[in-house]
Structure formats: structure tokens, C-alpha cells
Amino acid sequence: MSLTQDTFAFVADVVRRRSAIQLEAGKEYLVESRLLPIARDAGHPGVDAYIRDVRAARRESDLAEIVEALTTNETSWFRDNTPFSALRTHIVPGLRADRPVLDGVRVWSAACSTGQEPYSIAMTLTDVLGPGARFDITATDLSDQVLAQARSGRYSQLEVNRGLPAPMMVRWFQRNGHDWQIADELRRAITFTKHNLLDPPPGGPFDIVFLRNVLIYFDLDTKRSILGRVHRVLKPGGYLVLGAAETTIGVDGDWERVPVERGSVYRPVQAGALPSPRPASGALTGATPAVPAAAGPAAPAPFGSRAPATSTSWPPTARPATTTLPTAPRRPAGPAFEQGVTR
């Protein structure tokens, strides 16, 4: 019951090229245990036979499935914390300043993975908007598999252990066997949809876009074009939230950086506005004049410098030995990946 070196080398190469995750020697057991169910589903007795078939058939969908099986991992609720307290203390009050009656807030949670982010947003908005206020969240990812789990709202105990505040856990979750089921009230507030970040955005316009820990996987031109598309679906006076290690500065000048707590949020600068240099400030007023990128702070420090290990200590070898595989990077939706998961 062990893989040939040839099989392991092939799988490790596919995973490295597509996810930047390095499967080192010694991970053969992991490869086998994750791929065996797929191999059996495909009618093969073992992983070696399955991989021989995959190599002969050269199907994109097989490769995507292999990468997905080896890179899926639990992500945290309220990941990095600061974006969610920013939502509570700055973003919603900022929207309120523009609109005396704040109802029907629309949010896009891009690259939402297994749903922890949009559900965390929903829990926060329920609290901060108050009773009766409606909001809806469009949550997207490229992977059907993660969307299926997100939609079900069912999480393992290890998953609910990751960053979910205990008061939120008892308020919004019930046990279902050994798993935990999130409340239907939150599920109803979110629409989960498959979406590739290189395609036109899913609807809009939005008041708030969460686009976290995704841009880091793209080259500069792709980052710029994604930010451009986000800009077009964000309402004037809306907010963009990026990952802890990400910034618009030096990428796309159409954003104003607003420092919030340990991090930053970004507001769209209206197209066509005359550039008028002014320092980024905490003022949460409506549309602001354009800020040339050069006028912004030279050293971006988004969301404090406390970044999750997955975005700063890449590759995964830098992570503590006690952790599992690094959180799956949101699969880059670049040209090499356009076909996504097809099954």
C-alpha cells in the first residue's frame, strides 16, 4: 500500500505548478489517502493505476480535482479579525453617513472558499445593522466543491474551532451529529455562485466587496484588471476590503486607502475626478477626489502587519509543524486555469 515514486513525483509537480504548495518527500501517505477515494470513484483499484490513467487521458478536470483534493483545508471564521471589526466600527457607520436609512446593504465576498468569510460577514451585519435591516451577500468561488459545503452550512468541529467566537457559536450553530449546522437565517442572506475573477463580476452594484488573500496569487496586470472590474461594481462611497498582505497602492490608483485600526480599507475614487493630492485620512465622507498612487503612503501596511501564515510565510515549509496543509490558496483564475473544475 504505497505509491510509486513516479506517481508521487507527478502529483507533487501538478500541485506545485497549480497551487504553489510544495509536497515534499514523506507526504506520500497524504497523497495516497486523499486520492484513493477519487481513484476508486474512477474505477481504479489504487492511486498508481488512477494516475497512469490521468497521465494518459490528459484531462484538465482530473488535474483540477487532484489539486483540489490536496489543497483543501479548513479556514478561519472572522479571519484576521480586523476586517470584521472594521465592518462594525467604520464601514457600516461610513455607509450610514451617506444614507440616513441604511437598508438593503449589498456585499460581494469574492473567493469565499467554504463560506466562513460570508457567514462571518452575515453574523457581523446582523448585529450592527440591527433588527429588520435587510442585507444580501453574493459569495463566489471557482470551486464547485467548496461552494457545495458553503451552501450546506455544515461544518466539522475542527472547522468551528477556528476563530469562531463562542457567543457566536452558541447563537448561530446547532449540533448535527458530530458536525455543526449554521442557522438558516444566515444561509438565506447569502447567495453562493460559481465565479471566475477574470470574468465580469456577479451582479452588483455592491456597497462592500471583500476580496481577501486572492490578489497575491496574480501578476501585476491581472491584479490591475481585477481591481478595475471590482471598481466598476462598487457603489460610489462603497468599501473594498483586501487581505492583510494586499494593497491597491502601486497597483491601481483609483482607490483611496483609509487606515482602520490595525489595517486599511479602500474606497473607490470616482472615475474622471481630477487628481488632487491629499493624504489618506480616516474621514469617512462620500466620494473623494482622486488620489494619485504616488501620493499615498510609500509603504503599504494593510491590516496591520499581522498577516496570516498562509499569506506571509509562503511556502508552507515555513509553517509550524503542528499545522495541517496550508490553507488552499484561492485557485488562481489566470489563463492557465480558465477551465476550472469541470465535473
Binding site: L158, N161, R162, A166, T323
Partner: protein
């Protein structure tokens, strides 16, 4: 930052204390709730207590109740770290005054996430 790790299993104490020390905490350990209370009463000052539920002599829930009853200890953050995982048990612990609740088994990342929520990730870790 200083943490008190309360568990009747020395294995579990070592795992929890090790994770906390990696995050920059100094730690002190107790094998049950009474030992932990004795430590606090003798003047041991801690920012955080990680508390198992089922222990001999004095269980973790009783310890939480006693700490909450003493205003001198109101700045101590209390986190249950236990295999008790029913919804109702988590409600009971929060009602007794626990601030957070971590279910065993946990990864060391999960401890870190909880401390982040509690605002207890030490400064050197935030760089």
C-alpha cells in the same frame, strides 16, 4: 503575558502551554481547579487561564464561577479548553463567566485564532 494552564492531564498541559509559549506567553500549570485557585490566592498574576472541564478535586466550571466571584481577578481572561462539546455545555460555561471556549481536539492554529479574538496575541507575534 502570562497564562495559567489548568488540566489534569500533564500531556494536555504540555501541549497547551507549549502552544502558548510559542505565542510569547510565559506559563504556569495546575492539575485541577483547586490548585489553580491556590496559585491565584498566593499572588500569582495571570492574564489568561486555559481551563479543562473534567478534573478531580475541583472541575473547571466551578473554578470559572469562583474566579468570576472575586473582583480582584476580573481582568483574567478565561478560556475553557475541553472535550465537553455539547451546545448546552458551551452555553453553561459562558453563563458562568468563561470568555471563550475551545473544543478538544484543537490545532495550535485554533488556539492562536482564539487569542487573536480575545486581543491576546502578544505584540511580538503581530510583527
Amino acid at each position: 503575558m502570562r497564562a495559567l494552564v489548568i488540566d489534569d492531564s500533564r500531556t494536555m498541559r504540555r501541549i497547551v502551554a507549549g502552544a502558548l509559549e510559542n505565542l510569547g506567553f510565559s506559563t504556569v500549570q495546575a492539575g485541577d481547579g483547586q490548585q489553580a485557585l491556590d496559585l491565584l490566592e498566593s499572588g500569582e498574576e495571570v492574564d489568561l487561564a486555559c481551563i479543562d472541564w473534567n478534573m478531580p478535586v475541583m472541575d473547571g466550571l466551578t473554578f470559572v464561577t469562583k474566579v468570576r466571584a472575586n473582583p480582584a481577578w476580573r481582568n483574567i481572561t478565561l478560556m475553557m479548553v475541553t472535550t465537553e462539546s455539547e451546545h448546552g455545555q458551551i452555553v453553561r460555561a459562558l453563563a458562568a463567566g468563561a470568555h471563550e471556549y475551545l473544543i478538544k481536539p484543537f490545532t495550535t492554529d485554533a488556539i492562536r485564532d482564539k487569542l487573536d479574538l480575545l486581543g491576546l496575541v502578544p505584540a511580538e507575534e503581530t510583527v
